[in-house]
Amino acid sequence: MKAILEVKQLVKKYGDFTAVDGISFDIMEGEIFSLLGPNGAGKTTTISMLSTLYIPTSGEAVIGGHSVTKEPMAVRNLIGVVPQDLALYEDLTARENLAFWGQMYGLSGKTLNARIEQVLEQIGLVDKAKDRVKTYSGGMKRRVNIGVGLLHKPKLLFMDEPTVGIDPQSRRLILDSVKELNKQGMTVLYTTHYMEEAEELSDRVGIMDNGKLIALGTQAELTKQVGEMETLILHVGENDDPERLAVALRSLKMVRKADVTDHTVSVIVPEAEQALAPAVTRANELGIKIHSVDMREPNLEAVFLHLTGKALRD
């Protein structure tokens, strides 16, 4: 397999602040690669450099053999970009938006019209194509936003958190079409802070935090990093102090790690089921009420927790 994208020691600084801190990875032709990371991890900044929008402070990225800094035009012809925030003309209709952006990618005439119809089909907006985008729901706008990135059938598609803040139906449609596009041969770089999406879609995942790529590999490879550990998640009452529970649980022998986010305590243990009884007992002793309990097999969330000591979502 051939790499379509090679990133070497990419750095982006905003003044003194380092948003992307020397990341390196490759994406193979035909794969879906996810960058998973919490808010502010540097995902968008990375995509902006790869799509020739920002000039890297240092480092280099090569797409299809072309340097993003030295041959930006060649790179732009190969890539499609679906920006995190909607970038559409709200006073144009969906069809007019697609037509305009298609022309910006050099499409015209019959090819353009055919592609517009195909894409409208793909994003499920054939019926609404004549309406101005400003009349659309959030999910529909997101779909047009994605459609624009697909028009010219890019070899490599960047999708920056394309499912943020939308209804489950639109999200399903988007995830399915990403898989479909990939089947048709499109390579995808997908960023998200939803572990489930990364798990469902990706061949390989890069985990980003604070501008650094802290883990990289297939899901199996990554989950191995947490060993055979499982996660026990305890949801406590609003008025209880989860930190007290976490402190108590850390003294248990089987507990490797116990972290608090909001009203949950995430405990990493070799066997979640075995840890349940002692955990509930401790909570009882402290007078802390446990609302519900989740048990997770090793997953990316656990990997993130393991690597950073914090939960993926805020």
Partner: protein, 417 residues
Amino acid sequence: MRKLLLIAFKDLKLIFRDKAALTFMLLAPFLLTLGLGLVTGAYGSSGSSGISQIKIIIVNQDSGQLGQALVDLFQSAGLADLVAPTLVSDPLTARAQIDANAAVAAVIVPAGFTDNIIPANYQAPAADILQIEIYKNPLSPVSAGVIQSIVEEFISRVETGRVGGQVIVTQLLSAGLIAPDQVSAIAAEMGQLQANSVDQAPAISLQAAQSGPAQKAFNPMAYMAPGMALMFLMFTVSNGGRSILAEQARGTLPRLLVSPTNSAQVLIGKIFGVYVTGVIQMLILIVTCSLLFNIQWGNPLGILVLILAAVFAATGWGMLITSIARTPGQVGNIGTAIMLTFGILGGTFIQNSFMPGWFQIVSKITPNAWGLDGFTTLGLGGSLVDLGRPLLGLAVMGIALFVVSILIFSRRSFAQK
């Protein structure tokens, strides 16, 4: 090039779907022209309402026929509706009354005017020609303008008569057909004849002096309309500039920059869109106004070239504002301020000729002043060749502004949202 045009075309489409922008671009200048036109003067040249009974003061210090002819003209039945003249003997009193806003203008015919124009004996024409003075009230520019045009018309008739008279008299003399002592009487007769003919001319029409055959009906809207159009042109260009920063903030500009379109194409496309919008706005306003207010704009080619130049200079201002502003809102605010300032400086509300010298000099930084200069020239019957000054002024202004704003643009990045 194709993409550049596509970007400009997209912007045109967007602006013509933006009701708020259209209101400012087209409706506001149109309504203001109508409103101010009604307040300050006649609506159209055909109606009998509008400007009427213009109070003027005539001081006739001339003892000859021409002074009397002018007085007769203003008192004639033909002008009775339009002008309400009062005779006063002392110029100082007359001026004082104007200053006190008691009348619109004082027409002062100096002593010896007739003799100066038509010498008593045949002799070389006086080197120093005495002038009829029109002392105008700046508060009534349009009405004063009417009076001025009537006087100018009178003078140009007399002038024609004088030149014609001299030629004829000279020919008669050299042919030995008349004796020298008859010359003065004949010449005076001719002058009288010519001056009287003013009576027969349409009362409020102005035969453009010497320059051409164009006939222009006097109409205050003819001054108001281009002034308003130019003022709201400044809205269009700053609104266009605003859209550059708005596209940056909304992410469509960065999206354009990651498509295989280079940034120069994007920026020039946007600017070209602004330019074309401005030209279309001006054309719509001018055509509408000429249909509804019966305004004669003058030489069509001249108008077109003038519009192209004025919009170019105005777009330059739009770009300068955009290049120094940080946010779309800032462009909007600075744009509005500049629109009003330029409107006043450029003579939209009060003709610049009534303003002090420094004001007129400062007004030259506005496309409005140059543009109005051009429109007035054309309206008075001038053609493309007479537009040299305003066209040069506008072109130089546009080029300078574009150079400066491109230098500033090139130092900032449109990549970041």
